[in-house]
């Protein structure tokens, strides 16, 4: 890719890449690492990608890099658990609020982000892409390499689960 084309594309898409990685990983440092990795790939491999498909390509590379990052994180957590003599635990959400949760507009928003961490990586990705970043179902299908029906079903199930959590939060607030 030529320098000028790279600069234009990187400046145009860096925010979307970083936003997606930040919400998916819940860690700004890891998100920055992922964004850097993705943009380096834009320089090395982005030359052959048509401009109208560049955004979907970048988001797909971001999703793959985040998946790798989450896998490594899980392995590290398992090793540390074994070192401490604990049972390896599943990908449990951090009890500490992430900067994204802190940045959420309201306490309810922060709780929703907390609940999102319990979703699968694929479901969380679809929710972020659709609801936070505003991609269309067709774009999400291309980014996630899913059929349109799978995108709809995944999103429907994720929203239903988040609605149930939201209902619980509301009932707790009403009782408290």
């Amino acid at each position: 890719m030529e320098r000028a084309a790279f600069d234009t594309a990187a400046q145009r898409h860096a925010r979307k890449v970083f936003t997606f990685a930040s919400y998916l990983l819940g860690d700004p440092h890891e998100a920055e690492d992922v964004a850097q990795e993705v943009l380096v790939k834009l320089w090395t491999r982005g030359g052959g990608i048509p401009t109208d498909r560049l955004e979907a390509w970048l988001m797909r590379v971001t999703r793959n890099a985040c998946t790798d990052c989450l896998r490594k994180r899980k392995r590290t957590a398992e090793v540390i658990s074994i070192q401490r003599g604990e049972r390896p635990r599943a990908d449990r959400p951090s009890p500490e609020p992430s900067p994204e949760r802190m940045a959420a507009g309201s306490e309810l928003g922060a709780r929703i982000l907390g609940e999102m961490e319990r979703l699968s990586t694929a479901a969380r990705s679809v929710v972020i892409l659709r609801e936070i970043q505003g991609f269309s179902y067709v774009e999400i299908a291309e980014i996630m390499n899913m059929s349109l029906d799978t995108v709809r079903v995944t999103l429907h199930r994720a929203r239903r689960r988040l609605r149930e959590s939201l209902k619980e939060v509301r009932s707790h607030v009403a009782l408290g």
Partner: protein, 191 residues
Amino acid sequence: MSRSDEPMTCDDVTRRIEAYTDGDLDESTVRDIRRHLDACADCAEQLDLARTLTAELRAMPKLDPPAGLLDDVRAAAGIPGSPRSVAGHNRRFRPWLAVAAAFAIAIAGALLAHHQHQRTAKAEALRAAAEVRLALACVGDITRRADRSARRQVISERLLPVISRSFGLTPRTQSRGAEPGAPGNTERSSS
């Protein structure tokens, strides 16, 4: 798909609730859903939750990348004309790197301690063997020149403490195994 001929069930409405909030349904389906919602408090609550959820998620901020990200990318990719300051590129604290470093240090420490322990144990064994040899020489010398009580005294006072220490046992003043044949076995064990 219009369902005007029969009333919608709660399941019908729940399945369409996101499409309804997104405005993706045709007019007749919207009308059917509204009719159901007017009569069903549970589905009305589901709709309220769906709207709240969508509103909260759509209000989440889009996040700006750190200011130096593109410079870091240019440096990392080796793009001509970019600063190749790798030191500046990697100056940020990375928790995962700290965890990995701590893990590596812990393993290195454990290996070093194990190695030191082995070295210490070996040195201790060599020293004990030398002491045993010296004590045996004394026993032999005294055996030739002294009586039985003197020999026992040397065995209990000089030989047994060394053997006991070598094997991590509590020294005893007198032992049945402290006959002249026993130290030879000990020497073999120690060497």
